[in-house]
Symmetry: C2
Subunit: 305 residues, 2 copies
């Protein structure tokens, strides 16, 4: 799958992943009203509105980007109905040829991590037949529990040719609270990065490993350092746009050939119609606004090469 991701990034010339993180605030009112009227202003109505909203965006951007990243928390908050909307979103994105990165940040131990890996990246065996739970192509994972939490994901990735992105340095203000603390003269995030490189060495695609890393765009000074520590890890870079990261700050995350990193934008794309810049699209033009925002983001990023 990492090979497919690299290939699709080259084909689209867009090292971009669009975060499908729907909330009621980001969604156009007319879409909410329509679904609330049909299904009720409740969990079902909200979940149906989410799916319709996502489909609109996906239809508008599917030819422009290689990958989307639904954030499962935004679905989970709507309970079982929301989780169903997550699954439907994954399936719809696949039907449009998109690679799906499940932003699930799971992490547990042994058989529990295995259950997450099986549920999200493979399928559970019932009486000898494999049934897909959610079926993403990549997933984000949390490293706090050590290799016991990561290895079950790696085993599944090896078998299914899927991939993970391990949290190394997150884009939030307090990420330094633990991640920046020095251990043997190196910050914890660098210790984690060294492990990511080690874990991934044995799980290689053509040029990059199945084991990638998450490093926030809000910390560009770390980009170059992290690239060196994890030369074979694809880096997922959140924090561009809404969280304050700029295109110039992204350069160090990439290799010379323009590969090695993929930049996420969520609100900046899916709620572009709420920005002054894209206001003329109007509420009902939210999908076209998202398309224009992707085109602008692609231009902004390609400017740095």
């Amino acid at each position: 799958m990492i090979n497919k991701l690299v290939e699709r990034i080259k084909a689209t010339n867009a090292p971009i992943v669009v975060g499908l993180d729907p909330t009621l605030k980001l969604m156009p009112n007319y879409l909410k009203e329509k679904n609330f009227k049909e299904y009720g202003a409740n969990l079902t109505g909200a979940a149906r509105a989410i799916v319709e909203y996502n489909k609109g965006i996906v239809d508008a951007i599917a030819d422009l980007v290689p990958c989307v990243k639904p954030q499962i928390a935004m679905y989970e908050q709507f309970g079982v109905e929301g989780v169903l909307a997550f699954k439907e979103t994954v399936d719809y994105c696949h039907s449009k040829g998109l690679i799906v990165l499940g932003d699930i940040k799971r992490g547990d131990i042994g058989s529990t991590s295995e259950a997450y890996a099986v549920g999200h990246l493979s399928g559970v065996e019932i009486e000898g037949v494999k049934y897909e739970g959610f079926g993403e192509d990549f997933a984000t994972v949390n490293p706090y529990l050590g290799i016991d939490g990561i290895k079950p994901f790696m085993d599944v990735c090896r078998k299914e040719k899927k991939g993970i992105f391990v949290l190394v340095k997150t884009s939030n203000p307090s990420s330094g609270e633990f991640q920046d603390r020095l251990i043997d003269g190196k910050p914890l995030y660098e210790q984690v990065a060294m492990k990511v490189a080690e874990w991934g060495a044995d799980l290689m695609g053509d040029s990059y490993s199945y084991v990638g890393a998450v490093v926030g765009a809000t910390y560009p000074e770390m980009g170059a350092a992290m690239r060196k520590v994890m030369p074979k890890a694809y880096i997922l870079v959140p924090g561009y746009g809404a969280q304050g990261g700029t295109a110039d700050g992204l350069r160090p995350f990439f290799n010379e050939d323009g590969l090695g990193a993929i930049v996420n934008s969520s609100r900046g794309i899916i709620a572009a119609y709420q920005q002054e810049k894209y206001k003329s699209f109007g509420e009902t033009g939210y999908a076209d606004a998202a398309r224009q925002a992707v085109i602008d983001m692609r231009e902004d990023i390609n400017r740095i090469f």
Copy 2:
């Protein structure tokens, strides 16, 4: 909710939480066959078997213990159907008067962590009405992202009088990979523990904080140290039984009055019928075997006071 937990621990004389972590391997064959026949040997059949299995155990133990801890990964592996089984399990446990600790180990940033907190410990607002997603009473959370990941949970806990258990030192063999690394002369897990004490100071029940901690039973030498660092944090102790922790090793996790810690056992209870010791109960007696295993565990733990 922390007050209710303490009160129920006193009333049952059982500082025990039963892990409802169903897998197809732990489940009695007759239950699987019955549900596969009725619903198909697929995700639905598996999910229905899980709910029936759980209900049997819950009926058998509800008067003995204060709390259960369903591990959401074990449900999530069965996709949307599994997540529905999780929700039904939470609701059934509540109907039997049990406190429910969702072992979800979620952790993200800002609005994303808020979505998890809302989905699991409160309810999402739709047109001014609050709808419950999963509705647990407590949840486990991952601290790797710092206070940005924890505060949204704390805000919800304050409003809803619910609680969290922050991962401090997990019970798995490789937990030391990052958690034991020294920062300013203190291991990372102790740095996290210090933060747990700080975060929890402002969120107090009568004697204990809404902010608890997870510290594995496989590391008894840490029990006393962690009690001192986090005097007001309830400690959730996994790793008893199947993972090798013994009752003697548990003493340091408790305060003088026998409070301050709650010990988890999962497989050791819910699949007791598979053990030599409880074999006479047979497959169909799995619930009675679970009840006996809880009684034995209670005796084993109370021995140390």
